[in-house]
Amino acid sequence: MLENLKQELTDQINNANSLDELQQVKVKALGKKGSITLLTKNMKDKSIEEKKILGQAVHSLKEYIEIILKQKELFLIDMKIKDDIKKDKIDIFLPGVEFHQGSLHPLTITRNEIEEFFISLGFEVARGNEIESDEYNFEKMNIPKDHPARDMQDTFYFSEEELLRTHTSPMQARIMERNAPDKPIRVIVPGKTFRRDEDDLTHSHQFMQVEGLVIDKNISLADLKGTLELFARKMFGPNTQIRFRPSYFPFTEPSVEVDVTCHICKGKGCSVCKHTGWIEILGAGQVHPNVIKNCGYDPEVYQGFAFGMGIERIAMIKYGVDDVRLFYQNNLNFLKQFDKLK
C-alpha cells in the first residue's frame, strides 16, 4: 500500500509542470490532511510493534518525497528563470541616453600632455601675467630698445612701457630673480602670448607657448638635447629623433632650432615635412650670460638652458590640423573631435 502511494506521489511530482502544481502536490502529500500526514495519524490504533515498522516505512517515504519535491522545485525555478529571461529580452540596438559629451580644448589636451611630461621630470610649473612690462619682456631678455631682434617680434603695446607679452620668457626673468643668486631652477611656463601678426593659416595674433628654463652650475647644451629628446619621444612616439640646427635668439647663446623626425613619414619625406623628413618644433639654447646677469646670477658660475615651443604648432603636428585659426574659432564640430583623453 505504501508502495502504491509512493508511486502515485512520484508520478504526480513528475507530472507537475509549474511551481503552483507542485505546491498542490506538496499539500496533498505533506499538508495537514495530506496522504502521508494521514498515515501517521492513523497509526495510533496499531500495536507498538506495528507502529515501529510502519513508522519507519512512513518516515522514509516522507523523506523520499521531500527530496524529490525539492529537486523538482529547483528544476522548475530554473525553468521559470530561463523562461522569464526569454520573455524579458530588450533591443540592444536601440540608442541609449544621449548625454552631452564634454571635451577639453585640443590646446588644453596638448598643454596638459606637455606639462605632465615636464612635471614627471621634476619641473615646477609657473604662470605669468599676459600684460607685461617692456623691461621684463625685452630688456631683461637681452633685447634692448632698438635691438634688431625687436623686429622679429611685432608687439602690441598699451603704452611705451606696457605690452602684451610676445613670449613667455618674461617669466624666466621673474623666476630667476625670485631664486637668485644661488638657488637652482627647473621650471616650465605655459601661457598665452601675442604678436602683432595678421591671422592666416599659420599665424595667429594670439597663441600659446611653453617656456622651459633650467639653471644650475653645470647645465649644458647636451642636457638640453637629452631633455628634448625624451620630450619628443613622449609627444611623437618612441622612435622619434631630434636634430639641432644653429639659429639666433637674443636670449640664448648658442641658439638652436630643434627639429623632430616627421611622424607621418617617419623621416622618409612627405608633404607635411616638405620632403625633408624633419619638422621644426621649437627654439632653444644656452641662456645668454647677459640674461643670467640681468636676473641676479653670476654668469661665470651659473649656466643653463631655455626653450620655447608653440603649443599650436605641436597640436597641429600631432592632430594633423592645417589651419591655426581653427583653434580659436571654436566650431563645435571641430572641438568635439577632441573628446578623447589623448
Partner: protein, 791 residues
Amino acid sequence: MNVSYKLLNKYVELNNIDPYELGDILTNAGLEVESVRPLAQGSDLVIGYVEESYPHPNSDHLTVCITNVKSETLQICCGAPNVGQGQYVIVAKPGCKLDYAKVPVIKKVMLGGVESNGMICSLTEIGIPTKYQTKEQMDGIEVLEGDFQIGDEALTTLGYDDYILDLSLTPNRSDIYSIYALAIEVAGLLNTKLKDVNMSVVNDNKSKYKVNIEHKDCLSYGLFEFNDLVSQDSSFKTKNILFALGFKPRFNIVDDGNLAMVISGNPVHTFDADKLKSDTFSIRKGIEKDDFIALDDNKYHIMKDDLVIMNGDEIVAIAGVIGSKSSCIDENTKNIVVESAVFSHVSIRNTARRLDLFSEASTRYSKIVNKYTTEFPIALLEEYLGKKHDGSIEVNYENYQPLAVKVSHQKIEKVLGMKIAFEECVDILKRLSFKVEVLDNELIAYPPSYRKDIELDVDLIEEIIRVHGYNDLPSTLPLQEIIYNPLTDMQLLIKNTKNILSNSGLNEIITYQLSNKDKLDYFSTNKVYKELINPLNNERMLYRDNLLANMLETIDFNKSYQIKDQCLFEISNVFIDNEEKTYLSIGLMGNYINGNWHNQVLTSDFYVLKSIIFDYLAKLGFYYGRLLIEEVEIDHSFIHPTKSAYICMNKQRIGIFGAIHPRIASDYKLKNVYVAQIDLSYLAKQKGRVNKYEGISLIPNIYRDLSLVVPNDIKANTILKTVKQSNSKLINEINIFDIYHGNELEEDTYSMAISVEIGDGKKTLNEDEINDVVNNILKDLNKKLNITLRG
C-alpha cells in the same frame, strides 16, 4: 636675400660644391637657405641669327624668321613685335624643354598654314621674372647686343648659368648682407680659401668738397669723385648677376653702385656732380620739410629727428634712406660724387620705418653696417667703372681696433657638455677668419671686422659648435638637487575646473583676449578697458574685462553652423579693477540632454545651469551655506533680472549666472541662452571642505511626504530653512519633488510637495516620535510662513 652662386664663387673657392649642397651646408650652419634655384631654365638653348624675316601670310602679328643655328636653318613663326632680320637671338629648337614657357616642350607645329620649327625666346620664357625686365623685354623676345658665335649654348654664353640661393637671415648675422662676408663664412665652413680682393683705395683727401658732420648719428662720411663717365647699359654678365641678386638693371652707374653695395655690404649713394649747387656738404638733424621730392618722384615729410645730407642749404638726401630728385643721376650723367658713409642704424631704421621706405640700402643701414670697410665699395666701383676716382674726402673716426674675446677649453666643454679637441676649436675660428692666439688651455680670438655679433666667450662657443656640427652632441639629462614645487592653488583650480566641467558635458573653448568696444560693452560692468596703442585692426583693440562677450559670439558662430545644442565653458584672464584676474565663463543653449524613445529631453535653463555650477563648486568643497545666491538688481544691464542670481561667498559676489538679458538676446537673435561668469582668482584663495570620514548610519531613515499650500511670496530657500530648523537634529534631507500652480488653489498661493528624510542615526524612531517631527514642521511652517497642509 638673394645670392648669386657665381658672384660668391668670385670671392671664395667653392671646390665644386654644387649650389644645392652649398645651400644645405649653410642651412646646417645657421644661415637658413630657403630655396636654391637656377637663374634661367631651358635645355638645349642655342644662339641663333635671324637671316631673313617677313610677315606671316595669314596672320597680322606673326613674323616668319629664317633662323641660322649653325647645325641647321630653322623656319620659325615668332609673335614678338620686336623680332627682325639681323638679330642674334636665343633659340629653343624642337625637343627643347622650357619650364617657364606657355608650351613647356617645343615641337614642330603648323601656325596658320606655315611650318614653325622652334621658338625664339623672351627672358620670361627662360625664367627671368618680369619685374627685372624693361617694357620692351617684357613685350618681346630678348635681342642680344654684340657679336656671338651662332650655335653656341646660350645660357652659358650669356651668363645665365647661375643659381640663386635665397637666404633668410637672423638679426645677428646682418653681416651676411655682404657677399664678401658670406664668402668668409663659406671659406670657414668648407675649409677653403678666400680669393684675393682689393678692399682699399688710395685716399689722398684731395677734393673740392668740404664735409661737416654735425650730428653724432653720422659716424663717418666720405665722398669720392668720378669724372667723365659715359652712361650706358651694363654688360650682359653684370645684368645677369643683378637678376640673380634680385635687382632690376638700369644703367652702368646705378648698376655698378648696387653691385658694390651687395658685395661689400656698405651702401653707396651717388649724386650727379653737375646738379650740386654747393661744394659744402653737412650731415645734420633738426630740419623739418614737408615737400622733399625724392628720386622715386614721391613727396616725403622730413622730421627733426631724421638725419639729412645737405649740399649748401639744399637737402640732397635723407641719410641712408633716399636721395633727392634734384641731385640724382640719370642717363645723361657724366660726373658723379659717390657717398660712402656710416650712419647710426637706429636713426636710419626709425626714419625708414616712419616713411615705410625699406630699400636695399636702408635695409642694410638699418642693421649695423661694417664701419671699417667704407673704402671697399669704392674699390669695387673703381673695378666695375674701370677707372680710379678723381678726388676724395673722408671724415672718419678711430681706426679699427679688433675686439679680443677670450675662452678656455674647459668653458667650451662645460657649456656644450661634450668633449671637443682644443686644436679643433682653434682651427674652426681660424677658418672663419678670426685671428687666434693660444695660451695653454685658453684662446684669444680677434673676429674679422664684419663680425660685430662676436662679443663674449659664448659667442665663440657657438661658432665652434655651429661649424663642428650638432650631430655628435651627446644626450644627457640635467643633474640637479631635487626641487619640489607642487602646482599652486590657482593651477590646481584651473585643472580641476576643466576636468569637472568637461565631465559634466561641457566643451571647452579658447577665444581671443583682444576684442572691440561694442561687443565688450554688452557684458562689461564698468566699461573701462586696457587699450592698445597700436592695434592691428578695430576688431581687436581692447584687452577684455569679461569672458561673456566672446562666449556669446561663439554661441552665435556655432548657431550659424546649425548647431542648436551648445554647452560651453572657457577659463581665461581678464583685466578688471586694475588687475589681471582669471575668470570662468559658461554658456548654454538648446538641450542639455536630448530626448529620444527612451527619455524626455532636458532643455538647458536656469536650473540646469544652477546644478552644473553648484555640483562643480561642491566637488571643489564649496557647499550651499558657505555659498549663497542673491537676486540681481531689476535694472541689470546684461542678465535677465528675474531669471538670474549672484553667487556669493563671504558676503562677496564671486559670480553671476542666468539667462542673458532679453535686449541682448534680441540684438543677437538668440533665444534661451544661459550664461555664467565666476571669479576664479577669488575662489583659488578659499579653502574648500576636504574628504573626511564621518561614520555611516545602519539605522534606516524614514520618509514622509507633505503637500503644502504656500503663499506666492515665500521662496523655496525660506521653506527649506524653516523645515530644517523645526528639528535640525532629526531632519536630514528635504527634497522638493513637485511645484504646482493652478486655478483651484487659493488665490496668491502655489503648491509645493516635499519629501522629508527623518532619522536619528543611532536608534529606530517609533511612530509617535515621527509624528512629533512632522507636526513640528507643520506647526512652524504655519506659524512663521502661513503655509498649510493641502487638503
